[in-house]
């Protein structure tokens, strides 16, 4: 699966939280698993860190995206998934309500997010993507996967 196609587009996995759509660079995604597995709580961690899971023998910390974004928590249903991402030497999972699809975005379709207000901290956003009339908030994974609030 070529992540960067010949025409300079990038592919993003889109997931939904409430009625917003977010995009994650597909190159950083290792795998996606169902949320059905038990998550072990880790004491003394920020509350957006839900705990750790056992992924084929490896211990992976899991972040609750809703809590991280300051949204009221919701009980996850069957559709919920954990997106496992790998950044250099950090591996982590992000719990999302629903995974939609993979879209392709041209560099030109990604706008700088600096001017848009909103509740989400600007740090987490690396751009706003436009595709087929949809607006997808492209997430900055490095900022997302950190212990800071």
């Amino acid at each position: 699966m070529a992540a960067v196609t010949a025409t300079g587009t990038r592919q993003f996995l889109v997931f939904r939280l409430d009625d917003e759509e977010f995009g994650v660079d597909i190159r950083k995604i290792t795998t996606i698993v169902e949320k059905s597995m038990s998550i072990t709580r880790v004491p003394n961690t920020p509350d957006f860190i839900k705990g750790v899971i056992n992924l084929r023998g490896e211990i992976i910390p899991v972040i609750d995206s809703r809590i991280k974004f300051g949204m009221p928590p919701v009980s996850y249903e069957e559709d919920a998934r954990i997106i496992i991402i790998k950044l250099e030497d950090i591996i982590a999972g992000i719990i999302v309500e629903q995974v939609a699809e993979v879209i392709e975005l041209n560099e030109e379709n990604i706008e700088n997010a600096a001017n848009i207000g909103g509740s989400l901290s600007m740090d987490y956003i690396s751009g706003i993507g436009k595709a087929d009339g949809r607006i997808v908030t492209i997430l900055n994974l490095e900022k997302l996967i950190s212990l800071n609030n």
Partner: protein, 694 residues
């Protein structure tokens, strides 16, 4: 070009050579007559020069070349040196190391020019040439070889063998070895003379030790010879076997072997050293007595023997660490699955089944042990930096310090080895800076002028213990108490009831230091806290024993094996946690009212000892419903000398578990060191008993 893989090998080997050179230079500094050490440094420098030139690292090659010149000057005795030279050479080694670090990090040599060092080196080497010329003028009988002259044209010319070399030969013959002077004449039309010569040397080195070569090895490598050269070798082989081996090398025209005999010198006249060298590297006037020669020859000889032995043993393989980790991971998985198999319900446990399972258990354990052994590295690899470091420190702060090391062969897991260096460096610096008193003070106190620092490593049960001990001034308990009161950590009354141990613990707090002055080395109060944290993160602990006026001893305990441990599984609420068995002292059940409160800390009385209690459900903020229990289960853990009790809901079982790291994101979490995957696939966190304990 596959520079990549060569680069890795180059880096590894260069590190080894630099380390070797450091050790040899230390030896040479202590004993300027140590010819073996000098030769070793020279060989290492020469090899390094070639290696770096091949890789295109011209700065390194250039610097090593200058070093080589100076070392060669030392070897041929044309140089009077002193501690200045040793310092300069150490600086060279440091420069080479920093170039290497640049290469490791960026792939190129970096921008340092080292002009100053090179100028100094040239200066030293230049002096030798001047001295050499002077020598030739007024001492025609000097047996210092000049290149090419001696054997030119006359194959059987007897080499000038100096007294020292003759002694080595004598010793060899005494030990029933043979000594030969072998002249090899290459074909006149031979094109790559130095390559041929190299093959000849290789062939010889397989079964013998070459102790002399004319022209000198470097000159042969630079093709500064006609078409013949002569060597002196020591070996157990005979003349015929040498001839056979050497004639088998292409383009060898003639091989002349002359057996050498024992020769004893009766007069003390030194016929090979220049008047300057006679002074010795330390600049003092000494007549080279024959006994010295004999001793040196013995050393050189012992070296020859050991080299001969070494070549038979010690076959090693370089393995990428990541491959070892994969191997260990697989073994860990195997153990987990084996545990699952053990715990499966509903299987008819026939005799065969049970036997097979038991056998599987034994094999798995052996496999685990074998893999863990592979990861074990002797602490020597960490310790070997220290003599050089102490030497530098002792010069910097102007105190004479002797470092005694023992137990270097004690082994630790590779990951622990990587992390233990920093804390040890800090403790050693502390001992040198704050422990050992100044020379005058020591004299006043009647202590020997040189401060002693002892670094020991040994195995004790399932731990490895490393001690850093000094015979300095020890820790002033009263001073620490006062500082603690000053900092508001404790008030006057409480201070009175503190045990010596409690007071010492203050030193491990961040920013706590009783040093009056902050030196470049220490005194800021940052170090001990970091040392403690680092060691605890490795699953170990550190304690201090001290006697004011006599000295201090830092005792570091580290677990022997890392990844697979025996653990106690406990339940708190609905959560399961694991505690390392090695920390567990005992498990007791008490009535709730047996828990008393002293100074806001809950404690119990256990056989007349007051033990503090931690309710884990509170410490770990476990969500659970309050259940009134008839009896409470308390797991007593040991941290160094002290005990603490952890209140849990239940003790589930004792089990072998595999430690799995939490990953970089959670690596800083306190109270939990790692996690494990239980037989049912669920995750249990492994508690850091040390950080939870009081």
């Amino acid at each position: 070009m596959e520079m990549g893989q060569y680069l890795e090998i180059f880096i590894e080997e260069t590190k080894e050579h630099l380390n070797n050179m450091n050790q040899c230079l230390l030896r040479l500094e202590k004993n300027p007559r140590d010819g073996a050490a000098l030769n070793e440094i020279f060989r290492a420098a020469h090899t390094l020069k070639g290696m770096s030139a091949t890789m295109g690292f011209n700065k390194m090659s250039g610097l090593t070349h200058e070093m080589e010149d100076v070392l060669q000057a030392l070897r041929s005795g044309g140089l009077n040196s002193g501690s200045n030279l040793a310092d300069l050479l150490f600086k060279c080694l440091d420069a080479l190391e920093s170039i290497l670090n640049n290469i490791v990090e960026t792939g190129d040599e970096g921008s340092g020019e080292y002009i100053h060092i090179i100028a100094l080196l040239k200066d030293f080497a230049g002096r030798r040439i001047a001295a050499g010329e002077a020598e030739k003028d007024h001492d025609g009988g000097s047996s210092r070889e000049t290149t090419g002259d001696i054997c030119a044209g006359h194959p059987t010319a007897v080499l000038q063998i100096n007294q020292y070399e003759q002694n080595v030969i004598n010793k060899a013959i005494e030990a029933k070895m043979n000594a030969f002077q072998i002249t090899v004449v290459l074909n006149k039309g031979c094109l790559l003379k130095s390559a041929r010569a190299f093959i000849v040397f290789q062939t010889l080195e397989r079964k013998s030790e070459i102790i002399k070569s004319v022209p000198a090895v470097e000159d042969i490598e630079d093709e500064k010879f006609d078409n013949e050269f002569t060597v002196v070798v020591l070996s157990r082989e005979d003349e015929e076997s040498f001839k056979k081996d050497l004639y088998a090398v292409s383009e060898v025209e003639e091989v002349i072997v002359v057996p050498l005999l024992t020769v004893y010198y009766t007069d003390k006249k030194d016929n090979f050293e220049s008047p300057e060298y006679k002074k010795g590297l330390d600049g003092t006037e000494t007549g080279k007595a024959e006994s010295d020669d004999a001793e040196e020859a013995e050393d050189e000889f012992a070296k020859v023997e050991s080299v001969a032995k070494k070549s038979k043993t010690g076959k090693t393989v370089r393995v990428d660490i990541s491959r070892l980790d994969v191997l260990l991971n697989l073994v860990s998985e195997l153990i987990i699955q084996k545990s699952r198999l053990d715990g499966l319900e509903g299987i008819e446990k026939t005799k065969d089944y049970v036997e097979t399972l038991e056998y599987l258990e034994r094999i798995t354990t052996s496999l685990h042990d074998a893999v863990m052994k592979v990861r074990m590295v002797p602490v020597e690899s960490v310790f070997n930096r220290f003599p050089r470091m102490i030497r530098d420190i002792s010069r910097d702060i102007g105190k004479e310090i002797v470092l005694n090391m023992s137990g270097e062969e004690t082994e630790l897991d590779r990951t622990v080895i990587d992390e233990i260096g920093e804390p040890l460096i800090h403790l050693l610096r502390n001992a040198a800076d704050h422990g050992i008193e100044s020379a005058e003070k020591r004299k006043e106190l009647g202590k020997p002028p040189a401060g002693q620092i002892n670094l020991r490593a040994y195995q004790d049960g399932s731990s490895v213990v490393i001690e850093v001990e000094d015979d300095g001034q020890g820790i002033d308990i009263e001073k620490v108490k006062r500082k603690a009161i000053e900092k508001g950590l404790i008030d006057d009354d409480a201070a009175g009831s503190l045990s010596k141990k409690d007071v010492i613990d203050f030193l491990f707090l961040p920013s706590f230091s009783t040093a009056e002055t902050v030196t470049g080395l220490s005194g800021r109060g940052v170090g001990l806290d970091v040392v403690k944290t680092k060691i605890e993160s490795l699953g170990g602990n550190v304690e201090i024993e001290t006697a004011y006026g006599k000295g201090s001893r830092f005792i570091i305990r580290l677990p022997l094996t890392l990844a697979i441990i025996q653990a106690l599984l406990v339940r708190i609420g609905e959560e399961k946690y694991a505690i390392q068995i090695s920390s567990v002292n005992q498990i007791i059940k008490v009535f709730p009212d047996e828990i008393k409160t002293v100074n806001k800390q809950e404690v119990i009385l256990l056989r007349n000892e007051v033990i503090p209690i931690i309710r884990l459900e509170k410490a770990l903020k476990v969500q659970k419903e309050e259940k009134l229990r008839k009896k409470l289960t308390i797991v007593i853990v040991r941290k160094g000398e002290r005990l603490t009790g952890f209140v849990v809901d239940d003790v589930i079982c004792q089990q072998e578990i595999v430690q799995k790291p939490l990953g970089k994101l959670l690596s800083g979490v306190k109270t939990v060191t790692s996690a494990t995957i239980l037989g049912d696939g669920s995750v249990a966190l492994i508690l850091d008993a040390n950080s939870l304990a009081v």
